[in-house]
């Protein structure tokens, strides 16, 4: 995947287990607590269910279960990042914690080397180093639309 073209893009970083990930902040609609999730019939375990977001039915995905990172526990500190994706699709994702909004100049972003990772490299846009930390930049749009997430209707039913 190509590094972002513009010189600096703002990212929202969050933690999953010991790893730190970030998504383009323009994809983030809001951050809310984990609450009142209705489970969906016969859905995979990482799809926790749907919530009522001001009248809209929004599916919630637990990234910790999906990528087997961190402990999937649910309490008043559990956060859901609500994403607004292409085509107006709204999806919530549960993460361990939201860290910060950061400005990442394109120069700080390195391409992803071929490697084995929990997230397939095709869903990563790059790696950024901020001080001692390494942040994995997610191509959240492609990831959420991918068949393995099972969030969208498969082309062949």
């Amino acid at each position: 995947m190509n590094a972002p073209v513009s010189s600096a893009v703002e990212y929202l970083s969050f933690s999953l287990g010991a790893e730190e990930y970030a998504v383009d902040i323009l994809k983030v609609q809001e951050i809310r607590g984990y609450d009142a999730v209705t489970s969906i019939v016969n859905a995979p375990p990482f799809i926790k269910g749907v919530i009522n977001l001001r009248g809209t039915i929004v599916p919630v995905v637990d990234m910790r279960i999906k990528f087997e990172l961190g402990e999937p526990s649910y309490n008043e500190f559990t956060v859901v990042i609500v994403l607004n994706l292409a085509g107006g699709r709204v999806v919530g994702m549960v993460v361990d914690g939201v860290s910060e909004v950061m400005n990442l100049p394109a120069a700080d972003i390195r391409p992803v080397p071929p490697m084995a990772s929990v997230v397939a490299t095709e869903y990563l846009t790059g790696l950024a180093s901020v001080g001692e930390r390494m942040i994995i930049l997610l191509d959240i749009e492609t990831l959420m639309a991918s068949p393995e997430m099972g969030l969208v209707e498969a082309v062949v039913a």
Binding site: V50, R89, V91, E153
Partner: protein, 626 residues
């Protein structure tokens, strides 16, 4: 500026579409041997209004052709030409072509010039016999081809329909008037403010009045009542406004939210104690009633009589029966039945298919009918009625009925699982399989085998079912059951494990608590329940929905449901209550879930899934059969 104009275009397109529909309806109902003056006047006026509008917006082709039509209609109206069946046919074709032109104007595409000229000539020739003896000079036609034609013409031709052209402004103003209006055709020719003023009669716009344009604006304002008076008389809804569907939908969504909020309040209100509790409860009850009334009122905005769909069928039947050389009578019943606008639009295609099928396959040729001792003219009945929370639309014919042997043979050929002992209802359902056609030969009417599967899918998409009943030699009928509306349903909330689900009331026959002896195991796996002499398959919902949870057979509650032909008993843990719920799409942000038709928001703000009972019953049925 372009936005403003587009707005007017839209109004024109809608009006023109209505006028075309009027023309078609009138022509179809007209007794061509002796048309009444009223009918002829109405057809004339419809053509005239289209011409007027098309001229204003510079759709020269549209105004050109309607002008020729109008001229001919005028001759008929004044008794200088005769109305015949053939001419009515020609006129109907012209209506079709005008629709095409209108679509072209809408999509800003170019119609085929040769075809247009051909159409134009046909109608000019149609009138040519009478032209020679009547007064309107042929040159008037030529002058109307220009973009200003409309305005030039009425000045030479006495014209009662459009009052404002009939009384021309003073000569000095005419030039200006033409200029003022002309800017609608060549847009860039005029300053934008002038356009605003020109159309100022829609809404008084602040701004410097340009003297050159004020005159036409005045003229148009004066004309508005005249035009109103010239509208066809049979329009019953005297006062109405056009509102975009989006706005209505927005209103419906907002009311939906209000209903949810009201339900939340009602729930909270139950926990209030003390002296205010009773007063609060009374107010909440009032609020509930008002909300429900409001919701019903808003929902009714979207309701349209089904005649909007039915009205196109006299034409379809007429054309098709002519083409196939069969005499077919169309009987329409219950056209006043109202249903959701969204449903109306999506009903057009399936119904057209069914009607065409009935005429092509169902109704026999006159010779065969005579031989079978039936009247030579076949009858196709379109009937709509409301039955509880359902709208039932029926297409039936008195033709040959479905041919069981041929369907079975064809099914075998297509590799479908069949046997001779199958029930009729199951045999009939096979014609909905993709690529299934028993038509002996492919005609351009039907027989390609695409269609019935699409019909079934379209109906299913609307949340409806289609059933067939057929008696050999006596006819077939296709019965479509649809929900009253797409947005709201009456449902029973049930508890299964920790979850709450909504089951649409339309499926529920009754609920009961079975005695220990009523439930039997069959072949060691499935269970059936014995209800008044019937054995119904028992479907434990927690199994189907993949929920874990302890369940005590002694306390289980069964809901008897009927989905189409099949009855079943759904086992739930508890019945919670009956609600009117607003249907929300699960698919807008997620995907389709088998067994679930949608979701809703409950009084406590949580989401509850609405179960697709038909899907669940069907799935268990096929699972048992396998």
């Amino acid at each position: 500026m372009s936005i403003d104009l587009a707005q007017f275009f839209q109004t024109f397109f809608e009006e023109a579409t209505d006028h075309l529909a009027d023309m078609e309806r009138l022509l179809l109902h007209m007794d061509t041997a002796a048309p009444t003056a009223d009918e002829l006047d109405s057809v004339f006026r419809a053509a005239h209004s289209i011409k007027g509008g098309a001229g204003i917006f510079g759709f020269t082709r549209l105004s050109g052709l309607t002008h020729v039509l109008e001229s001919h209609l005028d001759l008929i109206r004044s008794g200088k030409a005769r109305m015949t069946e053939a001419i009515a046919d020609e006129l109907l074709q012209a209506v079709d072509y005008l629709r095409l032109l209108l679509q072209c104007c809408r999509d800003s595409c170019e119609p085929d010039e040769a075809e247009y000229q051909g159409m134009l000539q046909r109608f000019e020739q149609l009138g040519s016999g009478a032209w020679a003896t009547s007064t309107p000079p042929a040159t008037a036609l030529e002058s109307e081809d220009g973009s200003f034609g409309l305005f030039a013409a009425p000045l030479t031709e006495a014209d009662e329909g459009f009052g404002f052209f009939a009384s021309p402004p003073a000569p000095a103003q005419v030039e200006e008037a033409i200029e003022g209006f002309g800017l609608f055709a060549p847009l860039d020719a005029a300053p934008p403010t002038a356009v605003d003023e020109g159309f100022g009669f829609f809404e008084p716009m602040p701004g410097k009045p340009l003297t050159a344009v004020v005159a036409p604006a005045e003229a148009v304002r004066a004309a508005a009542p005249a035009r109103e008076a010239g509208k066809p008389a049979p329009a019953p809804d005297a006062a109405s406004i056009r509102v975009s569907v989006e706005r209505v939908d927005q209103l419906i969504n907002l009311v939906g939210e209000l209903v949810i909020t009201q339900a939340m309040l009602a729930e909270t209100g139950q926990h209030v104690e003390g002296p205010v509790a009773e007063r609060l409860q009374n107010s909440l009850n009032l609020l509930e009633r008002n909300t429900r009334d409001l919701q019903e009122a808003v929902m009714s905005i979207r309701m349209l009589p089904i005649s909007f769909v039915f009205n196109r069928f006299p034409r379809v039947v007429r054309d098709l029966s002519h083409k196939l050389g069969k005499g077919v009578e169309l009987v329409i019943q219950g056209e006043g039945t109202e249903l959701d606008r969204g449903l109306i639009e999506k009903l057009v295609d399936p119904l057209t298919h069914l009607v065409r099928n009935s005429i092509d396959h169902g109704i026999e040729s006159p010779e065969k009918r005579r031989a079978a001792g039936k009247p030579e003219r076949g009858t196709v009945v379109l009937r709509a009625s409301q039955q509880g929370g359902n709208i039932v639309v029926e297409v039936s014919d008195d033709g040959a009925g479905l041919n069981r042997e041929r369907i079975l043979a064809k099914a075998l050929e297509n590799g479908l699982p069949v046997n001779e002992a199958m029930a009729d209802a199951d045999v009939w359902q096979m014609i909905f399989a993709p690529g299934f056609s028993t038509a002996a030969e492919v005609t351009d009417v039907s027989g390609r085998g695409v269609g019935m599967d699409v019909v079934k899918r379209n109906i299913a998409d609307l949340g409806g079912r289609i059933e067939i009943s057929s008696v050999a030699g006596q006819g077939a009928s296709f019965i479509i059951r649809l929900p009253l509306t797409l947005a709201i349903l009456d449902g029973m909330s049930v508890a299964v494990g920790q979850e709450v689900f909504i089951i649409p009331l339309t499926y529920i026959l009754e609920s009961l608590q079975p005695g220990p002896g009523d439930i039997r195991r069959v072949a060691g796996k499935g269970e059936v329940v014995h209800v008044r002499g019937d054995y119904l398959p028992l479907i434990p919902l927690f199994d189907v929905l993949g929920l874990r949870g302890v369940h005590d057979p002694a306390t289980r509650i069964l809901l008897l449901v009927q989905a189409g032909e099949h009855k079943a008993a759904l086992q739930v843990d508890d019945l919670l209550g009956q609600h009117q719920v607003v249907i929300k799409s699960l698919e807008s942000n997620y995907r389709r879930v088998p067994g679930v038709s949608g979701a809703t928001v409950m009084g406590d703000g949580r989401v509850a899934l609405i179960l697709d009972v038909a899907d669940i019953v069907h799935a268990s049925h096929t699972a048992q059969a396998a």
